[in-house]
């Protein structure tokens, strides 16, 4: 599956492309934030301090207004095989409920976001 990957200080997050409608450059379309859409900060979702959010990922939600995930700069997009997605230890599942699991190799770890659970939790 293809993922759009952005980085925080200590970890990386991959957003599955299949869960997205499109990417918005927020600098070019600042009016996409705020009243017109339901915006969720990925930094806040991950308990991180707010950073610049140059990208808005419009999630497939079937909702109106649209759900936009505000993210740090998308650094890359990459194909990550589903077979290599690893579930978290059971004890950590409740902390990491907005993630499907992690892709892990010797060089690093990418946390795979679970946009469907995020959307389900929107009141």
């Amino acid at each position: 599956m293809r993922y759009f990957v952005c980085a925080f200080d200590d970890f990386q997050v991959g957003v599955p492309a299949e869960c997205m409608e499109r990417i918005i450059a927020m600098d070019a379309h600042p009016d996409e934030a705020g009243d017109r859409n339901f915006c969720i900060s990925l930094a806040a979702l991950c308990g991180q301090k707010e950073t610049d959010a140059p990208h808005g990922l419009v999630l497939k939600s079937g909702r109106s207004p649209a759900v936009v995930l505000l993210t740090p700069k998308i650094q890359t997009d990459m194909e990550l095989p589903d077979a290599e997605l690893r579930a978290f230890p059971r004890s950590l599942a409740a902390f990491l409920r907005y993630f499907r699991g992690a892709f892990l190799d010797a060089s690093g770890m990418i946390l795979a976001l679970d946009p469907e659970t995020i959307i389900k939790d929107i009141p």
Partner: protein
């Protein structure tokens, strides 16, 4: 009668792995341990309590690295090794300084620890003497419960 009791103790004897964390000796039943390994790269995680130091990669499987010393109210451990639990317990690894010994112990060797108040108190309910030093038995079930309760 004493002989019968000794035989029962021997039949129920359990092997413990004794290890050090910040100058204190702890033990876990070896039946729940898969391996002891050198600490390698730790991948930090968001949203977890400070005693979960992150994820370590064991054969491409993520294990949560837990700093028990922090749960017990001490300083953060500076360990260089990890005790990796068997997967059926949960994919957890404990940060330790070093392995000390193995001990085969009958249940009668375990003594109750005076319980202190606090959520982490149940993590250590018993201790035993080993070569002149007290060794505190960690309760793995309580450890799992404690982690999950923090969520």
């Amino acid at each position: 009668m004493e002989e019968i009791s000794r035989e029962a103790d021997s039949a129920e004897a359990q092997k413990y792995l004794i290890f050090m964390i910040l100058e204190k000796r702890y033990a876990l039943p070896s039946r729940i341990i898969s391996e002891v390994a050198a600490l390698e790269k730790v991948f930090p995680l968001p949203l977890v309590p400070p005693f979960v130091r992150g994820i370590i990669n064991r054969y491409s499987i993520p294990y949560a690295l837990v700093d028990v010393s922090l749960i017990l109210g001490g300083d953060s451990a500076q360990g260089s090794k990890v005790i990796v639990f068997k997967e059926e317990t949960d994919r957890l690894a404990l940060l330790i300084d070093d392995v000390v010994d193995f001990a085969d112990l009958p249940p009668s060797a375990l003594m109750d620890v005076d319980q202190e108040a606090g959520a982490a108190a149940n993590l250590v309910r018993a201790f035993f003497e080993w070569k002149g030093n007290p060794v505190f038995c960690l309760e793995s079930d309580e450890l799992l419960r404690h982690i999950q309760q923090e969520a």
